[in-house]
């Protein structure tokens, strides 16, 4: 169950957000204190309160001291539980450690370290962003524990999951102590790749003259089965005619210093183009083929390897987005 569903409207409102920003300022490391912890009875807690009132009325009507006793004991239990529930969050330090990266539609990992003050263990503390599945922090036996949260983004660029909900119902479930902390966590989300059209479809226009005839190339290295995205030109048609098997030639280094993934050469709107370029970049990397990327206003020199790929993906992800921080 996602937490977003059960938040009250006021908790999602902008005014509440601004008020929270003043009260619990953004920071990658926050220790919870009484300034930042909210506490309120749960629905169960209200029912429990009703039970206590009912018992007191019973005690009055029956003039029964021991029923008074039960009512007062339960009432006191509730008050003591306030302290326990509050204590369960108080003093806990939350620290944003790292985040992974991924494509649109993929769950992206964030790591948050939860530490408690030395002394008594804390139980039943859970954290989660409104869009993530909440996770328990196992900080009873250990003073600190990492918590991995996963958020799925629907747009490329920076993913800022926003305020993290930290809450607990321990020990009786009658009260909920919670807080919203902004750990300033962010992760980069790459455009959702679209595979399909061959990467050289776009490259051909500029590089026709330089293209090496595959048949005459010395670098011809190997043959392998066709994979979607392979160039049609590299298929061994003669083999196909004989065996009806699609075999492509592979080259140790496809000598094409000017293989460029060009924004202007792919169809679709901006987002679709970025998605196609992402797909191409992935395929090219997969094929061990050097490539450059041309975006309006940006040009990434030809290269190969994961660092290059990451740089390209990052550029694609942030295209047109103000990289504020």
């Amino acid at each position: 169950m996602e937490q977003a569903a059960k938040l009250a409207r006021w908790e999602r409102s902008e005014r509440f957000g601004r008020w929270l920003d003043r009260r619990i300022p953004k920071s990658s490391r926050i220790t919870l204190s009484q300034d930042s912890i909210f506490i309120f009875p749960t629905a169960t807690g209200f029912v429990f309160g009703g039970l206590v009132v009912l018992l007191i009325i019973g005690a009055i009507n029956y003039q029964n001291s021991l029923v008074y006793g039960v009512a007062f004991l339960l009432g006191s239990l509730f008050l003591v539980a306030i302290l326990y529930t509050f204590r369960n969050l108080s003093g806990i330090t939350l620290e944003y450690v790292a985040s992974g990266s991924g494509f649109v539609g993929e769950p992206i990992e964030f790591e948050v370290r939860v530490a408690r003050p030395s002394g008594a263990g804390r139980e039943g503390v859970q954290l989660g962003w409104p869009d993530s599945i909440p996770q328990w922090a196992e900080i009873f036996d250990h003073e600190a524990a990492p918590v991995h949260l996963y958020v799925t983004s629907s747009a490329r660029g920076w993913l800022r999951p926003g305020r993290l909900l930290v809450e607990t119902y321990y020990p009786l479930g009658l009260l909920r102590a919670w807080t919203w902390v902004d750990l300033d966590a962010k992760a980069i989300v790459y455009p959702q790749p679209i595979f399909g059209a061959a990467p050289d479809a776009s490259a051909r226009q500029r590089d026709e003259g330089v293209l090496v005839d595959p048949k005459g190339s010395d670098d011809f290295n190997d043959m392998r089965g066709y994979r979607p995205g392979d160039s049609v030109r590299r298929i061994l048609w003669r083999t196909y005619a004989r065996t009806e098997e699609l075999i492509v030639k592979e080259y140790a280094s496809y000598v094409d210093p000017r293989f460029i993934l060009d924004f202007d050469a792919v169809p679709g709107d901006t987002e679709e183009r970025l998605s196609r370029l992402t797909g191409m970049a992935l395929t090219a990397t997969n094929l061990q083929r050097e490539f450059a990327v041309a975006l309006p206003g940006t040009f990434i020199e030809s290269g190969l390897g994961s660092a290059h790929l990451e740089r390209v993906l990052r550029t694609l992800a942030l295209y047109g987005i103000d990289d504020g921080d």
Binding site: L51, L66, L79, A81, E138
Partner: protein, 678 residues
Amino acid sequence: MMAIDSHTGVGSQIPRLSLALLMLTQAVVVVPHGAHLSWWVIVVGLACAAWRWMVFQGRWGFPSRWIKVLLVTMAAIGVGLDVRLRALSAFSLETATALLIVAFALKLVETRSRRDAYVVIFLSYFVIATEFLFEQTMAIAAYELLAVVLVTAAMVGLNQMHTRIRPLVSLRIAATLVLQAAPLMLVLFLFFPRMAPLWSVPLPGGAQTGITDRVTPGDIAVLTQSDEIAFRVVFDGPIPHPRALYWRGIVYSRYDRGTWSVGPQHTAAHEPPLQLDIGTSTPRRYEVLLEPTQGVWLFALETPVPVSPGVELTRDYRLVADEPVRSLFRYRVDSFADYVADRSLPDWLERRETQIARGVNPRAVRFAAELAARYPNKRDYLDALLERIRVEPYRYTLNPPRLSSDDDIDEFWFDTRAGFCSHYAAAFVYLARLAGIPARMVGGYQGGEINPLTGHIVVRQYDAHAWAEVWLEDAGWVRMDPTAAVAPQRIEQGLDAALSEPDRATLSALTALRFGGSKIADLMYWFESLEHRWNVWVVGYDSDRQYHYLRQLLGGVSPVKIGLVMLAGGAVSLALVALSLFWRRRTQSGHPLERTFRHFGKALGRHGMPRAPEESPRAFLARVAQWLDKPASDLMPLVESLEALLYNPMPDQSRHQRRFVERGLRRLRLEAALRNRN
């Protein structure tokens, strides 16, 4: 109830151990109710528990909707039948409780979500409180306190992380919570203003106990002697000798075919309200804590004046309560021993107190006429009756022969000559009336036992007694006890002294022990005094007592004062809890082995091999190995075990390994010490 189960984000399933605890809890809270429930409610409860157990074991499924409908219907019919059979009112407390328990049992069968679990938990608390409407003894209270801890533990179990739910851990947490809630509860108990009932409610019924408002001495073949407590008395001044304590309860004025009953009560229409002309005599002042009798009559020494509200004086100088006594009832009385009751007797009263059935007991009629001729003076006549009992072979026994209903007085007085107090009192009153002397039988208790620890008097059911009152010119009503003539020990030393061997056989084991006069008797005194204090301070703590106590404590009672005291008391008790929660004990921090290792580091530091701040155990032990000229591989098993323990999420599952590490570290310390020696 709202969506209670939505709050964990780990689904709405009940952890298994928590469920087991819940089932145990239910059994525990229902058990004390067994005393006033019909057997079939118990059967339904057991069946439901068994079913739930099978579900728990995974052998059976949850009941289908039809079975549930069937169960509910059967339960409703069952409660209905129960009401008919036991002749209860449909709105009686017993009916309501039976319904509650049945619903509670049925709820358990279908419990599967957290929300269901909370319903069961809250019902459990309610069932616990309900039990106190039936019984308020210290033992029950102690039992129910444990039950509260158990229920709370089930609630804690619902909110613990699944990896940590262990019944004992939940129980420990729950016990701590209850313990920490206790001071605040005490503050509320003492200071929360006690109010008058908001509306009237059905109180527990049940059989009448103790003496009753009609007596048929001839019907009783064996008088069973119960050692149940009838009431306790606390005297303000010195405690009188038990011999002088005649606790009047009921006045039997009407005689009909062997049965004595309370006469027609005449109220203000006939007679102005009874006004005691007390004069200047000083009363004997005391407080009575009466156990429930289901009757309105109260017990008091002669010529009482009620002090407490809700208690009234009747025309025959008895005290009655406004409502039947259904739970412990506390009242204060002033008794004027010297007061002359009814200096003159109105006609209607004289008629009532001399009323006699004609045509029965012919021998007694003849006997009375002859005796009255011999002793024209009324006093002499009565003395002659007592003298006859003393001299002739009359016998005091708890196992009297039965008497016929018509001529019972004749049979007793001339033939059997064996009986207990009511036989003697009845015959005495009858014979007095035959001589035209206004007389009546009085039922109540005589004597009592002084608890040496608290100085209060305990009156038990076996102290029940019947005696006579006769009206004499100038003296008013005079008490005469014919039993004292046949068995003076009964009056002087209590029932025990008057008993014969066959009589003793009718005593319960506990009563016999009480009369044994052993160490056990001392222990019983101690329990008795505890129970008494419990009754005075806890069960009997009502608005009246609260007012007196608060006035004593605060020197005056005002809402502001009470509010302030409650606030202060509450704040202090919560502050204590907060202090225990937030006080950080630095030395006790961290993993237990971390502490052990810190000590180890310090110890080696004393031997000249200090551990660097934040140095990892592995690095430090490597240095230690070098320092001791050992190959590092020697210490590898130790290092590995240590690390496994320090970073293992389940630390207490590897006690074995822990002992190994502790032994290893001890050996190293020893070696370090030896190295320095050399």
